[in-house]
Protein backbone atom coordinates (compact mmCIF):
# COMPACT_ATOMS: atom_id res chain seq x y z
CA UNK A 1 0.00 0.00 0.00
CA UNK A 2 2.79 2.41 0.78
CA UNK A 3 4.53 2.31 -2.57
CA UNK A 4 1.31 2.63 -4.49
CA UNK A 5 0.33 5.91 -2.92
CA UNK A 6 3.64 7.66 -2.77
CA UNK A 7 2.71 10.04 -5.58
CA UNK A 8 -0.12 11.21 -3.36
CA UNK A 9 2.13 11.83 -0.42
CA UNK A 10 4.63 13.43 -2.71
CA UNK A 11 2.03 16.05 -3.56
CA UNK A 12 0.76 16.28 -0.05
CA UNK A 13 3.91 16.25 2.02
CA UNK A 14 5.20 19.73 1.29
CA UNK A 15 1.78 21.05 2.13
CA UNK A 16 1.65 19.10 5.33
CA UNK A 17 4.95 20.57 6.34
CA UNK A 18 3.63 24.05 5.81
CA UNK A 19 0.63 23.28 7.92
CA UNK A 20 2.55 21.74 10.74
CA UNK A 21 4.68 24.80 10.74
CA UNK A 22 1.69 27.06 11.06
CA UNK A 23 -0.57 25.46 13.60
CA UNK A 24 -2.98 28.30 13.64
CA UNK A 25 -3.92 28.05 9.99
CA UNK A 26 -5.47 25.08 8.34
CA UNK A 27 -5.23 23.83 4.83
CA UNK A 28 -7.97 26.21 3.82
CA UNK A 29 -5.80 29.20 4.59
CA UNK A 30 -3.04 28.00 2.33
CA UNK A 31 -5.43 27.14 -0.47
CA UNK A 32 -6.84 30.61 -0.15
CA UNK A 33 -3.39 32.08 -0.46
CA UNK A 34 -2.48 30.01 -3.47
CA UNK A 35 -5.81 30.60 -5.15
CA UNK A 36 -5.62 34.33 -4.58
CA UNK A 37 -2.07 34.51 -5.85
CA UNK A 38 -2.91 32.67 -9.02
CA UNK A 39 -5.95 34.80 -9.63
CA UNK A 40 -4.15 38.06 -8.94
CA UNK A 41 -1.24 37.11 -11.14
CA UNK A 42 -3.39 36.25 -14.08
CA UNK A 43 -5.51 39.35 -13.59
CA UNK A 44 -2.29 41.32 -13.63
CA UNK A 45 -1.34 39.65 -16.88
CA UNK A 46 -4.70 40.50 -18.30
CA UNK A 47 -4.38 44.16 -17.49
CA UNK A 48 -0.72 44.62 -18.23
CA UNK A 49 0.22 42.00 -20.76
CA UNK A 50 2.98 44.12 -22.19
CA UNK A 51 5.09 43.74 -19.06
CA UNK A 52 5.68 40.06 -19.65
CA UNK A 53 4.83 39.33 -23.24
CA UNK A 54 7.81 39.65 -25.57
CA UNK A 55 5.80 39.73 -28.77
CA UNK A 56 2.51 40.84 -30.14
CA UNK A 57 0.13 37.89 -30.06
CA UNK A 58 -0.94 38.44 -33.64
CA UNK A 59 2.55 38.92 -34.96
CA UNK A 60 3.14 36.28 -37.56
CA UNK A 61 6.86 36.47 -37.67
CA UNK A 62 8.21 35.76 -34.25
CA UNK A 63 10.30 32.76 -35.09
CA UNK A 64 10.47 29.68 -37.26
CA UNK A 65 7.20 27.92 -37.85
CA UNK A 66 6.18 25.31 -35.33
CA UNK A 67 9.34 25.47 -33.34
CA UNK A 68 9.58 24.01 -29.86
CA UNK A 69 10.14 26.11 -26.74
CA UNK A 70 13.40 28.00 -26.93
CA UNK A 71 14.97 31.04 -25.44
CA UNK A 72 13.40 33.34 -28.02
CA UNK A 73 10.02 31.70 -27.83
CA UNK A 74 9.50 30.43 -24.33
CA UNK A 75 6.57 28.30 -25.30
CA UNK A 76 7.39 27.78 -28.91
CA UNK A 77 5.67 29.03 -32.02
CA UNK A 78 2.56 27.95 -33.83
CA UNK A 79 1.88 27.19 -37.45
CA UNK A 80 1.52 30.88 -38.26
CA UNK A 81 4.82 31.66 -36.61
CA UNK A 82 3.17 33.40 -33.69
CA UNK A 83 4.74 33.30 -30.25
CA UNK A 84 2.72 31.05 -28.03
CA UNK A 85 3.94 32.55 -24.79
CA UNK A 86 2.61 35.95 -25.79
CA UNK A 87 -0.61 34.42 -26.96
CA UNK A 88 -1.03 32.80 -23.60
CA UNK A 89 -0.55 36.08 -21.83
CA UNK A 90 -2.88 38.03 -24.06
CA UNK A 91 -5.32 35.18 -24.04
CA UNK A 92 -5.81 35.74 -20.35
CA UNK A 93 -7.70 38.92 -21.18
CA UNK A 94 -10.10 37.14 -23.41
CA UNK A 95 -10.91 34.32 -21.13
CA UNK A 96 -11.01 36.39 -18.01
CA UNK A 97 -13.09 38.99 -19.76
CA UNK A 98 -15.66 36.53 -20.96
CA UNK A 99 -15.78 34.52 -17.74
CA UNK A 100 -16.01 37.55 -15.52
CA UNK A 101 -18.66 39.27 -17.62
CA UNK A 102 -20.64 36.08 -17.84
CA UNK A 103 -20.45 35.68 -14.08
CA UNK A 104 -21.63 39.23 -13.53
CA UNK A 105 -24.53 38.84 -15.92
CA UNK A 106 -25.43 35.52 -14.33
CA UNK A 107 -25.30 36.82 -10.84
CA UNK A 108 -27.25 39.97 -11.58
CA UNK A 109 -29.91 38.13 -13.51
CA UNK A 110 -30.04 35.19 -11.14
CA UNK A 111 -30.14 37.27 -7.99
CA UNK A 112 -32.77 39.63 -9.35
CA UNK A 113 -34.96 36.84 -10.65
CA UNK A 114 -34.50 34.96 -7.43
CA UNK A 115 -35.55 37.95 -5.38
CA UNK A 116 -38.56 38.57 -7.58
CA UNK A 117 -39.62 35.00 -7.65
CA UNK A 118 -39.25 34.59 -3.93
CA UNK A 119 -40.99 37.84 -3.10
CA UNK A 120 -43.85 37.62 -5.51
CA UNK A 121 -44.54 33.95 -5.22
CA UNK A 122 -47.56 32.54 -6.93
CA UNK A 123 -47.72 31.70 -10.59
CA UNK A 124 -44.66 33.72 -11.52
CA UNK A 125 -42.64 31.89 -8.95
CA UNK A 126 -43.93 28.57 -10.14
CA UNK A 127 -43.14 29.22 -13.78
CA UNK A 128 -39.73 30.70 -13.13
CA UNK A 129 -38.77 27.87 -10.82
CA UNK A 130 -39.83 25.32 -13.37
CA UNK A 131 -37.78 26.92 -16.11
CA UNK A 132 -34.78 27.35 -13.84
CA UNK A 133 -34.96 23.76 -12.66
CA UNK A 134 -35.01 22.48 -16.21
CA UNK A 135 -31.98 24.51 -17.15
CA UNK A 136 -30.25 23.49 -13.94
CA UNK A 137 -30.81 19.81 -14.40
CA UNK A 138 -29.46 19.77 -17.91
CA UNK A 139 -25.69 19.56 -18.32
CA UNK A 140 -24.49 23.09 -18.81
CA UNK A 141 -22.13 22.46 -21.64
CA UNK A 142 -24.77 21.22 -24.00
CA UNK A 143 -26.98 24.19 -23.29
CA UNK A 144 -24.07 26.51 -23.81
CA UNK A 145 -23.37 24.88 -27.13
CA UNK A 146 -26.97 25.23 -28.15
CA UNK A 147 -27.04 28.90 -27.25
CA UNK A 148 -23.70 29.62 -28.79
CA UNK A 149 -24.76 27.98 -32.01
CA UNK A 150 -28.01 29.89 -31.95
CA UNK A 151 -26.51 33.27 -31.25
CA UNK A 152 -23.59 32.95 -33.57
CA UNK A 153 -19.98 33.99 -33.09
CA UNK A 154 -18.89 37.13 -31.31
CA UNK A 155 -17.63 38.03 -27.87
CA UNK A 156 -20.96 39.27 -26.61
CA UNK A 157 -22.86 36.24 -27.82
CA UNK A 158 -20.44 33.81 -26.29
CA UNK A 159 -20.55 35.65 -23.01
CA UNK A 160 -24.31 35.46 -23.06
CA UNK A 161 -24.26 31.76 -23.87
CA UNK A 162 -21.98 31.07 -20.94
CA UNK A 163 -23.92 33.35 -18.63
CA UNK A 164 -27.27 31.72 -19.17
CA UNK A 165 -26.35 28.37 -17.74
CA UNK A 166 -25.35 29.72 -14.34
CA UNK A 167 -28.38 31.85 -13.74
CA UNK A 168 -30.33 29.01 -12.09
CA UNK A 169 -27.66 28.56 -9.47
CA UNK A 170 -27.95 32.12 -8.23
CA UNK A 171 -31.68 32.01 -8.68
CA UNK A 172 -32.12 29.03 -6.42
CA UNK A 173 -29.84 30.38 -3.76
CA UNK A 174 -31.37 33.82 -3.58
CA UNK A 175 -34.90 32.55 -3.88
CA UNK A 176 -34.29 30.24 -0.94
CA UNK A 177 -32.93 33.07 1.14
CA UNK A 178 -35.77 35.34 0.12
CA UNK A 179 -38.33 32.75 1.11
CA UNK A 180 -36.88 32.41 4.55
CA UNK A 181 -36.76 36.16 4.89
CA UNK A 182 -40.41 36.24 3.97
CA UNK A 183 -41.15 33.90 6.83
CA UNK A 184 -39.36 36.18 9.20
CA UNK A 185 -41.22 39.15 7.85
CA UNK A 186 -44.58 37.64 8.55
CA UNK A 187 -43.60 36.69 12.04
CA UNK A 188 -42.20 40.09 12.74
CA UNK A 189 -45.12 41.81 11.06
CA UNK A 190 -47.39 40.06 13.45
CA UNK A 191 -45.52 41.71 16.22
CA UNK A 192 -45.50 45.02 14.39
CA UNK A 193 -42.00 45.82 15.37
CA UNK A 194 -41.36 47.94 12.35
CA UNK A 195 -37.83 49.12 11.83
CA UNK A 196 -36.29 46.32 13.86
CA UNK A 197 -37.28 43.89 11.14
CA UNK A 198 -34.84 45.41 8.76
CA UNK A 199 -32.06 45.37 11.27
CA UNK A 200 -32.50 41.67 11.72
CA UNK A 201 -32.51 41.10 8.01
CA UNK A 202 -29.62 43.43 7.44
CA UNK A 203 -27.48 42.05 10.20
CA UNK A 204 -28.08 38.33 9.92
CA UNK A 205 -29.59 37.25 6.69
CA UNK A 206 -27.93 39.45 4.13
CA UNK A 207 -24.35 38.88 5.27
CA UNK A 208 -24.92 35.17 5.05
CA UNK A 209 -26.51 35.44 1.67
CA UNK A 210 -23.78 37.71 0.36
CA UNK A 211 -21.10 35.37 1.64
CA UNK A 212 -22.64 32.51 -0.25
CA UNK A 213 -23.07 34.57 -3.38
CA UNK A 214 -19.41 35.54 -3.27
CA UNK A 215 -18.37 31.92 -2.97
CA UNK A 216 -20.59 30.91 -5.82
CA UNK A 217 -19.33 33.81 -7.87
CA UNK A 218 -15.79 32.56 -7.61
CA UNK A 219 -16.74 29.01 -8.47
CA UNK A 220 -18.92 30.38 -11.23
CA UNK A 221 -15.95 32.10 -12.83
CA UNK A 222 -13.96 28.88 -12.64
CA UNK A 223 -16.74 27.00 -14.36
CA UNK A 224 -17.27 29.76 -16.90
CA UNK A 225 -13.60 29.57 -17.80
CA UNK A 226 -13.93 25.89 -18.49
CA UNK A 227 -17.10 26.37 -20.51
CA UNK A 228 -15.72 29.20 -22.61
CA UNK A 229 -12.61 27.23 -23.37
CA UNK A 230 -14.69 24.21 -24.27
CA UNK A 231 -16.84 26.26 -26.63
CA UNK A 232 -13.78 27.66 -28.34
CA UNK A 233 -12.32 24.21 -28.62
CA UNK A 234 -15.39 22.99 -30.43
CA UNK A 235 -15.23 25.97 -32.71
CA UNK A 236 -18.21 27.87 -31.39
CA UNK A 237 -16.10 30.52 -29.85
CA UNK A 238 -14.69 33.84 -30.80
CA UNK A 239 -13.58 35.05 -34.19
CA UNK A 240 -10.09 34.03 -35.22
CA UNK A 241 -8.38 37.32 -34.54
CA UNK A 242 -8.61 37.32 -30.76
CA UNK A 243 -6.05 35.19 -28.90
CA UNK A 244 -8.02 32.54 -27.07
CA UNK A 245 -6.70 29.57 -25.18
CA UNK A 246 -9.42 27.16 -26.18
CA UNK A 247 -9.10 27.98 -29.83
CA UNK A 248 -5.34 27.72 -29.77
CA UNK A 249 -5.78 24.30 -28.28
CA UNK A 250 -8.04 23.17 -31.05
CA UNK A 251 -5.65 24.53 -33.65
CA UNK A 252 -2.80 22.77 -31.99
CA UNK A 253 -4.67 19.53 -32.07
CA UNK A 254 -4.10 19.27 -35.78
CA UNK A 255 -0.35 19.30 -35.37
CA UNK A 256 -0.17 16.94 -32.45
CA UNK A 257 0.47 13.73 -34.40
CA UNK A 258 3.77 15.09 -35.61
CA UNK A 259 4.89 15.55 -32.06
CA UNK A 260 4.22 19.27 -31.82
CA UNK A 261 3.23 19.22 -28.19
CA UNK A 262 3.74 22.83 -27.24
CA UNK A 263 0.75 24.16 -29.09
CA UNK A 264 -1.53 21.96 -27.06
CA UNK A 265 0.14 21.65 -23.68
CA UNK A 266 0.44 25.30 -22.76
CA UNK A 267 -3.07 26.52 -23.52
CA UNK A 268 -4.53 23.61 -21.60
CA UNK A 269 -2.19 24.23 -18.72
CA UNK A 270 -3.24 27.86 -18.57
CA UNK A 271 -6.92 26.97 -18.56
CA UNK A 272 -6.34 24.51 -15.79
CA UNK A 273 -4.31 26.87 -13.65
CA UNK A 274 -6.75 29.73 -13.94
CA UNK A 275 -9.77 27.57 -13.25
CA UNK A 276 -7.91 26.03 -10.34
CA UNK A 277 -7.10 29.44 -8.94
CA UNK A 278 -10.72 30.47 -8.80
CA UNK A 279 -11.84 27.10 -7.52
CA UNK A 280 -9.35 27.13 -4.67
CA UNK A 281 -10.33 30.67 -3.90
CA UNK A 282 -14.01 29.80 -3.85
CA UNK A 283 -13.62 26.68 -1.76
CA UNK A 284 -11.30 28.30 0.71
CA UNK A 285 -13.75 31.19 1.08
CA UNK A 286 -16.53 28.70 1.66
CA UNK A 287 -14.59 27.01 4.45
CA UNK A 288 -13.58 30.26 6.04
CA UNK A 289 -17.03 31.80 5.94
CA UNK A 290 -18.57 28.71 7.50
CA UNK A 291 -16.16 28.01 10.31
CA UNK A 292 -16.02 24.51 11.60
CA UNK A 293 -15.93 24.65 15.32
CA UNK A 294 -14.27 21.70 16.90
CA UNK A 295 -12.43 19.71 14.29
CA UNK A 296 -8.76 20.37 13.88
Amino acid sequence: MRAKFSPASAIGRPFKLLIDANRKYGLEWWLLVIGTLIVLFIIFLAFFPQTLAPYDPLDQDTGPQLSPPSRENLMGTDNLQRDIFSRMIYGSRTILGVAFSAAIISSLAGVTLGLLSGFLGGVIDRILSLIMDSIYSFPGLILAIAFAAMLGPGVFNITLAVAVIYIPTYFRLVRGQTLSIKEELYVEAARAIGAKRWTIIGRYIFPNAIATVVVIFSLNIADAIMTEAALSYIGLGLPAGIPDWGMDLSMGKKFLPSGTWWMVTFPGLMIMILALGFTLLGEALAEILNPRLLER
Binding site: L293, L294, E295, R296
Partner: protein, 327 residues
Protein backbone atom coordinates in the same frame (compact mmCIF):
# COMPACT_ATOMS: atom_id res chain seq x y z
CA UNK B 1 -3.01 -8.76 40.87
CA UNK B 2 -6.51 -7.95 39.72
CA UNK B 3 -7.86 -9.02 36.34
CA UNK B 4 -7.88 -5.46 35.08
CA UNK B 5 -5.94 -2.65 36.65
CA UNK B 6 -6.15 0.98 35.62
CA UNK B 7 -3.30 3.00 37.02
CA UNK B 8 -3.27 6.81 37.06
CA UNK B 9 -4.85 7.07 33.65
CA UNK B 10 -5.14 10.47 32.02
CA UNK B 11 -6.81 11.21 28.71
CA UNK B 12 -6.71 14.45 26.73
CA UNK B 13 -8.78 15.73 23.83
CA UNK B 14 -6.89 18.45 22.03
CA UNK B 15 -9.30 20.65 20.13
CA UNK B 16 -8.88 24.03 18.52
CA UNK B 17 -9.93 26.04 21.56
CA UNK B 18 -7.62 24.20 23.90
CA UNK B 19 -7.05 20.78 25.38
CA UNK B 20 -9.90 19.11 27.21
CA UNK B 21 -8.62 17.13 30.19
CA UNK B 22 -11.24 14.47 29.87
CA UNK B 23 -9.85 12.02 32.40
CA UNK B 24 -7.29 12.71 35.09
CA UNK B 25 -5.36 10.30 37.31
CA UNK B 26 -7.96 7.59 37.38
CA UNK B 27 -7.06 4.37 39.19
CA UNK B 28 -9.44 1.44 39.30
CA UNK B 29 -9.32 -2.32 39.42
CA UNK B 30 -11.60 -5.14 38.49
CA UNK B 31 -11.38 -8.59 40.05
CA UNK B 32 -12.42 -11.75 38.32
CA UNK B 33 -16.13 -12.39 38.49
CA UNK B 34 -17.12 -9.04 39.88
CA UNK B 35 -19.30 -6.27 38.55
CA UNK B 36 -17.92 -2.76 38.82
CA UNK B 37 -20.30 0.10 38.33
CA UNK B 38 -18.87 3.34 36.96
CA UNK B 39 -21.28 6.18 37.53
CA UNK B 40 -21.38 9.89 36.96
CA UNK B 41 -23.26 12.50 35.04
CA UNK B 42 -23.02 13.04 31.28
CA UNK B 43 -19.67 14.38 30.30
CA UNK B 44 -17.81 13.25 33.41
CA UNK B 45 -15.52 11.08 31.34
CA UNK B 46 -16.82 7.62 32.14
CA UNK B 47 -17.52 6.68 28.54
CA UNK B 48 -14.14 8.02 27.50
CA UNK B 49 -12.59 5.89 30.19
CA UNK B 50 -14.46 2.85 28.97
CA UNK B 51 -13.33 3.37 25.38
CA UNK B 52 -9.76 3.84 26.45
CA UNK B 53 -9.59 0.40 28.00
CA UNK B 54 -9.58 -1.10 24.54
CA UNK B 55 -7.71 1.87 23.15
CA UNK B 56 -10.70 2.84 21.05
CA UNK B 57 -10.47 6.56 21.59
CA UNK B 58 -11.44 8.60 18.58
CA UNK B 59 -8.70 10.95 17.47
CA UNK B 60 -7.84 13.58 18.57
CA UNK B 61 -8.44 11.93 21.94
CA UNK B 62 -5.41 10.20 23.33
CA UNK B 63 -4.09 8.63 26.47
CA UNK B 64 -1.47 10.88 27.92
CA UNK B 65 -0.48 9.07 31.07
CA UNK B 66 -0.90 5.96 33.11
CA UNK B 67 -1.31 2.28 32.39
CA UNK B 68 -4.11 -0.16 31.83
CA UNK B 69 -3.09 -3.67 32.70
CA UNK B 70 -5.02 -6.74 31.71
CA UNK B 71 -3.64 -9.78 33.44
CA UNK B 72 -0.47 -7.86 33.99
CA UNK B 73 0.09 -6.69 30.40
CA UNK B 74 -0.19 -3.00 29.63
CA UNK B 75 -2.80 -2.23 26.99
CA UNK B 76 -1.74 1.35 26.34
CA UNK B 77 1.59 0.34 24.89
CA UNK B 78 0.36 -2.84 23.28
CA UNK B 79 1.23 -3.51 19.68
CA UNK B 80 -1.49 -3.53 17.04
CA UNK B 81 -1.64 -7.30 16.66
CA UNK B 82 -1.99 -7.99 20.35
CA UNK B 83 -4.60 -5.26 20.69
CA UNK B 84 -6.71 -6.67 17.85
CA UNK B 85 -6.57 -10.04 19.50
CA UNK B 86 -7.60 -8.57 22.83
CA UNK B 87 -10.60 -6.76 21.44
CA UNK B 88 -13.64 -8.92 21.17
CA UNK B 89 -11.86 -11.99 22.46
CA UNK B 90 -10.53 -11.22 25.93
CA UNK B 91 -12.37 -7.98 26.53
CA UNK B 92 -15.59 -7.12 24.76
CA UNK B 93 -17.50 -3.88 24.68
CA UNK B 94 -21.22 -3.35 24.33
CA UNK B 95 -22.61 0.05 23.45
CA UNK B 96 -25.52 2.25 24.18
CA UNK B 97 -27.61 2.21 21.06
CA UNK B 98 -28.05 -1.26 19.59
CA UNK B 99 -29.65 0.02 16.42
CA UNK B 100 -26.75 2.19 15.41
CA UNK B 101 -24.16 -0.23 16.77
CA UNK B 102 -25.06 -2.91 14.29
CA UNK B 103 -24.20 -2.40 10.67
CA UNK B 104 -27.59 -1.94 9.04
CA UNK B 105 -26.57 -3.47 5.76
CA UNK B 106 -25.18 -6.75 7.04
CA UNK B 107 -27.25 -9.70 8.14
CA UNK B 108 -26.98 -10.72 11.79
CA UNK B 109 -25.47 -14.13 11.19
CA UNK B 110 -22.76 -12.63 9.03
CA UNK B 111 -21.91 -10.17 11.76
CA UNK B 112 -21.42 -13.09 14.15
CA UNK B 113 -19.42 -15.06 11.65
CA UNK B 114 -17.16 -12.13 10.98
CA UNK B 115 -16.22 -11.86 14.63
CA UNK B 116 -15.64 -15.56 15.00
CA UNK B 117 -13.62 -15.75 11.84
CA UNK B 118 -11.47 -12.92 13.08
CA UNK B 119 -10.52 -14.60 16.33
CA UNK B 120 -10.73 -18.31 15.68
CA UNK B 121 -7.79 -19.70 13.72
CA UNK B 122 -9.71 -22.92 13.13
CA UNK B 123 -12.76 -21.24 11.79
CA UNK B 124 -15.46 -23.55 10.56
CA UNK B 125 -18.70 -22.13 9.27
CA UNK B 126 -21.03 -24.77 10.66
CA UNK B 127 -19.31 -24.75 14.00
CA UNK B 128 -19.48 -20.99 14.12
CA UNK B 129 -23.16 -20.92 13.24
CA UNK B 130 -23.83 -23.41 15.97
CA UNK B 131 -21.95 -21.19 18.40
CA UNK B 132 -24.08 -18.24 17.39
CA UNK B 133 -27.26 -20.25 17.76
CA UNK B 134 -26.22 -21.37 21.24
CA UNK B 135 -25.56 -17.87 22.36
CA UNK B 136 -28.89 -16.66 21.06
CA UNK B 137 -30.53 -19.51 22.95
CA UNK B 138 -28.82 -18.52 26.15
CA UNK B 139 -29.98 -14.98 25.60
CA UNK B 140 -33.52 -15.90 24.83
CA UNK B 141 -33.61 -14.96 21.17
CA UNK B 142 -35.04 -17.27 18.52
CA UNK B 143 -32.49 -18.86 16.21
CA UNK B 144 -34.22 -17.75 13.08
CA UNK B 145 -33.40 -14.15 13.95
CA UNK B 146 -29.92 -14.85 12.75
CA UNK B 147 -31.13 -14.39 9.24
CA UNK B 148 -32.67 -11.00 9.80
CA UNK B 149 -31.29 -7.54 9.34
CA UNK B 150 -30.93 -5.23 12.32
CA UNK B 151 -33.85 -3.02 11.42
CA UNK B 152 -36.18 -5.99 11.47
CA UNK B 153 -35.69 -6.64 15.17
CA UNK B 154 -37.10 -5.00 18.25
CA UNK B 155 -34.95 -2.89 20.54
CA UNK B 156 -34.66 -5.53 23.20
CA UNK B 157 -33.71 -8.21 20.70
CA UNK B 158 -31.08 -6.00 19.18
CA UNK B 159 -29.63 -5.37 22.59
CA UNK B 160 -29.42 -9.09 23.26
CA UNK B 161 -27.85 -9.72 19.90
CA UNK B 162 -25.30 -7.06 20.55
CA UNK B 163 -24.47 -8.74 23.84
CA UNK B 164 -24.40 -12.02 22.00
CA UNK B 165 -21.82 -10.75 19.54
CA UNK B 166 -19.88 -9.43 22.49
CA UNK B 167 -19.97 -12.77 24.28
CA UNK B 168 -19.44 -15.03 21.31
CA UNK B 169 -15.76 -15.51 21.93
CA UNK B 170 -16.18 -15.98 25.68
CA UNK B 171 -14.39 -12.88 26.82
CA UNK B 172 -13.28 -12.47 30.38
CA UNK B 173 -14.46 -8.90 30.71
CA UNK B 174 -17.43 -7.12 29.24
CA UNK B 175 -17.56 -3.34 29.27
CA UNK B 176 -21.13 -2.18 28.98
CA UNK B 177 -21.47 1.50 28.11
CA UNK B 178 -24.94 2.75 28.98
CA UNK B 179 -26.46 -0.52 27.80
CA UNK B 180 -30.06 0.24 28.62
CA UNK B 181 -30.30 3.99 28.25
CA UNK B 182 -32.11 3.72 24.97
CA UNK B 183 -34.44 0.93 26.09
CA UNK B 184 -37.59 0.90 28.13
CA UNK B 185 -37.68 -0.15 31.80
CA UNK B 186 -39.14 -3.57 31.17
CA UNK B 187 -36.37 -4.45 28.80
CA UNK B 188 -34.00 -2.99 31.31
CA UNK B 189 -35.27 -5.31 34.01
CA UNK B 190 -34.79 -8.21 31.64
CA UNK B 191 -31.30 -6.99 30.96
CA UNK B 192 -30.42 -7.00 34.61
CA UNK B 193 -31.63 -10.58 34.99
CA UNK B 194 -29.65 -11.47 31.92
CA UNK B 195 -26.46 -9.98 33.26
CA UNK B 196 -26.86 -11.85 36.53
CA UNK B 197 -27.33 -15.08 34.68
CA UNK B 198 -24.35 -14.46 32.49
CA UNK B 199 -22.15 -13.73 35.45
CA UNK B 200 -22.87 -17.11 36.91
CA UNK B 201 -22.91 -19.11 33.69
CA UNK B 202 -19.89 -17.57 32.01
CA UNK B 203 -17.92 -16.29 34.97
CA UNK B 204 -17.92 -12.86 33.47
CA UNK B 205 -16.42 -9.76 34.95
CA UNK B 206 -18.36 -6.69 34.01
CA UNK B 207 -17.68 -2.98 33.98
CA UNK B 208 -21.02 -1.23 33.91
CA UNK B 209 -20.82 2.38 32.79
CA UNK B 210 -24.07 4.15 33.47
CA UNK B 211 -25.84 7.03 35.12
CA UNK B 212 -28.62 4.72 36.18
CA UNK B 213 -27.99 4.27 39.88
CA UNK B 214 -30.82 1.84 40.26
CA UNK B 215 -29.23 -0.66 37.94
CA UNK B 216 -25.91 -0.29 39.68
CA UNK B 217 -27.56 -0.88 43.02
CA UNK B 218 -29.09 -4.10 41.79
CA UNK B 219 -26.19 -5.89 40.27
CA UNK B 220 -22.90 -4.13 40.96
CA UNK B 221 -20.51 -5.48 43.57
CA UNK B 222 -18.40 -2.39 43.62
CA UNK B 223 -18.89 1.13 42.44
CA UNK B 224 -16.81 4.13 41.44
CA UNK B 225 -18.18 7.64 41.17
CA UNK B 226 -16.68 9.97 38.60
CA UNK B 227 -16.87 13.72 38.43
CA UNK B 228 -15.14 16.04 35.96
CA UNK B 229 -12.78 13.33 34.82
CA UNK B 230 -11.74 12.18 38.27
CA UNK B 231 -12.80 9.45 40.64
CA UNK B 232 -14.31 11.02 43.75
CA UNK B 233 -15.47 7.96 45.62
CA UNK B 234 -15.16 4.19 45.41
CA UNK B 235 -16.43 1.35 47.52
CA UNK B 236 -18.77 -1.59 47.51
CA UNK B 237 -22.18 -0.86 46.05
CA UNK B 238 -23.79 -1.57 49.40
CA UNK B 239 -21.52 0.77 51.29
CA UNK B 240 -21.94 3.65 48.92
CA UNK B 241 -25.63 3.20 48.69
CA UNK B 242 -26.15 3.43 52.39
CA UNK B 243 -23.28 5.63 53.46
CA UNK B 244 -21.92 8.19 51.10
CA UNK B 245 -18.91 10.26 51.97
CA UNK B 246 -18.48 12.60 49.03
CA UNK B 247 -21.05 15.41 48.83
CA UNK B 248 -21.45 14.71 45.13
CA UNK B 249 -22.22 11.06 45.75
CA UNK B 250 -24.67 12.09 48.42
CA UNK B 251 -26.38 14.36 45.92
CA UNK B 252 -26.48 11.65 43.28
CA UNK B 253 -27.96 8.99 45.47
CA UNK B 254 -30.46 11.23 47.13
CA UNK B 255 -31.71 13.25 44.24
CA UNK B 256 -33.82 10.41 42.92
CA UNK B 257 -37.26 10.98 44.38
CA UNK B 258 -38.67 8.19 46.47
CA UNK B 259 -42.38 7.68 46.29
CA UNK B 260 -42.48 6.21 49.74
CA UNK B 261 -40.93 9.13 51.49
CA UNK B 262 -42.71 12.27 52.37
CA UNK B 263 -40.52 14.64 50.45
CA UNK B 264 -41.48 18.22 50.26
CA UNK B 265 -38.57 19.36 48.14
CA UNK B 266 -36.45 17.56 45.64
CA UNK B 267 -32.80 17.52 46.46
CA UNK B 268 -30.84 19.02 43.61
CA UNK B 269 -27.31 20.10 42.90
CA UNK B 270 -27.31 23.54 41.37
CA UNK B 271 -24.54 24.55 39.02
CA UNK B 272 -22.60 22.86 36.25
CA UNK B 273 -19.48 20.74 35.98
CA UNK B 274 -16.31 22.77 35.55
CA UNK B 275 -14.69 23.66 32.26
CA UNK B 276 -12.32 20.84 31.49
CA UNK B 277 -10.12 22.91 29.23
CA UNK B 278 -9.15 25.10 32.12
CA UNK B 279 -9.94 23.03 35.19
CA UNK B 280 -10.01 24.69 38.60
CA UNK B 281 -7.01 24.40 40.83
CA UNK B 282 -8.54 22.54 43.73
CA UNK B 283 -11.38 20.11 44.01
CA UNK B 284 -13.48 20.14 40.82
CA UNK B 285 -16.69 20.02 42.84
CA UNK B 286 -15.88 23.07 44.96
CA UNK B 287 -18.14 25.39 42.97
CA UNK B 288 -21.22 23.34 43.63
CA UNK B 289 -20.42 21.83 46.99
CA UNK B 290 -22.68 22.94 49.85
CA UNK B 291 -19.92 22.05 52.33
CA UNK B 292 -17.05 23.69 50.56
CA UNK B 293 -14.10 24.98 52.58
CA UNK B 294 -11.27 27.30 51.62
CA UNK B 295 -8.88 24.42 51.34
CA UNK B 296 -11.10 22.77 48.75
CA UNK B 297 -10.63 25.56 46.26
CA UNK B 298 -6.88 25.52 46.45
CA UNK B 299 -5.81 21.97 47.01
CA UNK B 300 -6.86 18.88 45.14
CA UNK B 301 -7.96 16.14 47.52
CA UNK B 302 -6.56 12.69 46.77
CA UNK B 303 -8.57 9.49 46.86
CA UNK B 304 -7.94 8.07 50.33
CA UNK B 305 -9.40 5.07 52.08
CA UNK B 306 -11.60 6.15 54.95
CA UNK B 307 -13.31 2.95 55.87
CA UNK B 308 -12.65 -0.65 54.93
CA UNK B 309 -12.96 -0.77 51.16
CA UNK B 310 -14.44 2.72 50.77
CA UNK B 311 -12.31 5.59 49.54
CA UNK B 312 -13.18 9.20 48.94
CA UNK B 313 -11.41 12.28 47.59
CA UNK B 314 -12.67 15.03 49.88
CA UNK B 315 -11.16 17.35 52.47
CA UNK B 316 -14.11 16.90 54.80
CA UNK B 317 -12.61 13.69 56.10
CA UNK B 318 -9.06 14.78 56.86
CA UNK B 319 -9.65 14.25 60.51
CA UNK B 320 -11.77 11.13 59.97
CA UNK B 321 -14.97 12.98 60.49
CA UNK B 322 -18.47 11.96 59.72
CA UNK B 323 -20.38 13.31 56.71
CA UNK B 324 -21.88 16.71 57.55
CA UNK B 325 -25.40 15.63 56.66
CA UNK B 326 -25.43 13.07 59.41
CA UNK B 327 -26.08 15.77 61.98
Amino acid sequence: MALLEIDNLSIDYPINIGTVQAVRDVSLYLERGEVLGLVGESGCGKSTLGLSILNLLRPPGKIVGGEIRFKGKDIVSMKRQALMSLRGKDIAMVFQNPLTSLNPLIRIDRQFLETIRQHDPQFNKEKALKQAENILDALGVEKKRLYDYPHQLSGGMRQRIMIGIGLIMNPEIIIADEPTTSLDVIVEAGFIDLLNRLRKEFELSIILITHNLGMVAEIADRMAVMYAGRIVETGSADQIYHNQFHPYTYGLINCVPNINLDQEELITMPGNPPDLVDPPKGCPFSDRCPHVMDRCRNELPMLTERRAGQSVACWLYEENGEPPWKN
